[in-house]
């Protein structure tokens, strides 16, 4: 298993944002992580990437215990991510943005190898022509592209995408889906939080669904989506809204 969580829990004061989530992900899987707004998806990704320390439960990455490990250690163990609210490094160039995880991640590249890795990753998302521009000058969509290129520069084993496809227009969405499919074809394990159900159906053979911090379904995507608890959870959200 590349990722195993055992009863992973995160409390914010009285609120239990992630409530005893146990999950196992095999190498090469593309897993959809679904659930209504506020159900704890981002918090779960934060626990896996080390952005947050769990209040309880265990986390294993690539068979090693990483419970409570700092994010830099988890990154060096081969986990990379994008953020729901995109986070680029605005005062650095595109090239420098992408250099960072290649230089500090699992491979610790420098010099020619680093330059080659940076070129590869920028061209994978179609930004290679603008390598020397300042990242702060990019449009929102290009910032999302850059963020993915940066995550890929670490050559991660596990990639966490938090609504990376959100906000793309139909053409960009098709490109994005094709790109993720290609990454998966190269053997990358991906966990993707996504609200665009068509994209989930297209990319994820398996999905898990969260509601109020708990996992309420885990299985083949079409079955998970047809589960009556899942339907109730989404309907419940509609009724609240």
């Amino acid at each position: 298993m590349i990722l195993e969580t055992q009863g992973l829990t995160k409390r914010f004061g009285g609120l239990v944002a992630v409530d005893g989530v146990s999950l196992a992900v095999r190498p090469g899987e593309v897993l959809g992580l679904l659930g209504p707004n506020g159900s704890g998806k981002t918090t779960l990704l934060n626990l896996i990437s080390g952005a947050l320390r769990p209040s309880g439960g265990g986390l294993r990455i690539g068979g090693h215990d990483m419970t409570g490990a700092r994010p830099d250690r988890i990154a060096r163990a081969g986990v990379a991510r994008t953020f729901q609210l995109v986070r680029i490094l605005p005062s650095l160039t595109l090239k420098e943005n992408v250099m960072v995880p290649a230089a500090y991640g699992p491979d610790r590249l420098w010099g020619d190898l680093l330059a080659a890795r940076v070129r590869d990753c920028l061209s994978a998302v179609g930004l290679d022509a603008r390598a020397d521009q300042s990242a702060g000058d990019l449009t929102y969509i290009d910032q999302k592209r850059l963020e993915l290129a940066r995550a890929l520069a670490a050559r991660p084993r596990l990639l966490l995408l938090d609504e990376w496809l959100a906000g793309l227009n139909p053409t960009e969405l098709q490109d994005g889906i094709a790109l993720i499919r290609k990454l998966s074809g190269d053997g990358l394990t991906i966990i993707m939080v996504e609200h665009i159900i068509d994209a989930v159906r297209a990319l994820c053979p398996r999905s898990v669904v969260m509601n109020s911090g708990r996992l309420i379904a885990d299985g083949p995507t079409s079955e998970a989506l047809a589960d009556r608890h899942v339907i109730a959870a989404y309907l419940g959200e509609d009724a609240d809204a």
């Binding site: 830099d72 680029i88 420098e96 995880p101 500090y104 991640g105």
Partner: protein, 305 residues
Amino acid sequence: MGYVFSAIAFALLAVLPLFAGDYGTGLLVGLMGYVVLASAWALFSGPTRYVSLATVAFFGVGAYVVAVLNEVLPYPVVLFCAALTGAGMALVVGLSTLRLAGIYFVIFTFGLAELVRQLITWFEVNVTGTLGRYIFLDLTARDIYWQLLALAVLTLGAGWWIRRSRLGLALRVIGDDEVVAAHAGIPVARTKLVLFVISATIITLVGAVQAPRWVYVEPSIVFNPTVSFLTVIMALLGGANRLWGPVAGAVPLFLLFEWLSARFPDHFSILLGLMFLAVVYALPDGVLAALERIRRPSVLKETKA
């Protein structure tokens, strides 16, 4: 080409005090002191954007180590002890404060200088029973100037090297977004700590090297908060993110402040405070960067969707 130019400039600076009179050499000592202080401050605070007002805490401790040890140990050993004390103190301070964000860090570092001064005063009065100390070292103003010049070369050399290294990249990432830095594999706390210690050690050495100029030393003399504020203004105004920025800020501002403090001794603190606020709010990237922005205003950032 750059090396040749630097070597010539260095040689010229080294012979300068031979032609300057006593007053001129005294001025050069003060000037070179601030060149090193501003450059060393910028090593850490430039890329990370942590505005530290602890400069005089380290500077004063450096001077005090010399005051305490100058009669018991040979001079090079005294300097070494000063550096070690500064590094040790920076390690403790860094471990306890580098998690603080923004304004809290500024306030803590400001308080630190006062705390150290009160501690030393208390210790001297209650334990050793002497408030003031004398420094009898056979060092001329020229000797001190040359030591400071060497420190300046060392500091700029370190800045040059860090800029080209993995460490420099890490610091710039930390300055932009610590969360991203950590998720890219950068050990954020350790990186900040290393730079803070390097910067503080150099600052401590400036205090140690300059101490013999005072002859008589007591806490209120060596822990003068003006030093911290001047350093910040010089580094920020010149541009703390450029290798030569702090130097470019230190030279004209040192001369300006010398003139101001002689001309308006009663209002100097107010002028200083106003300049500090103006620089921190209006020109955090420095004058050079502001000029560049004015020359090419077309590059406007696109805002997030």
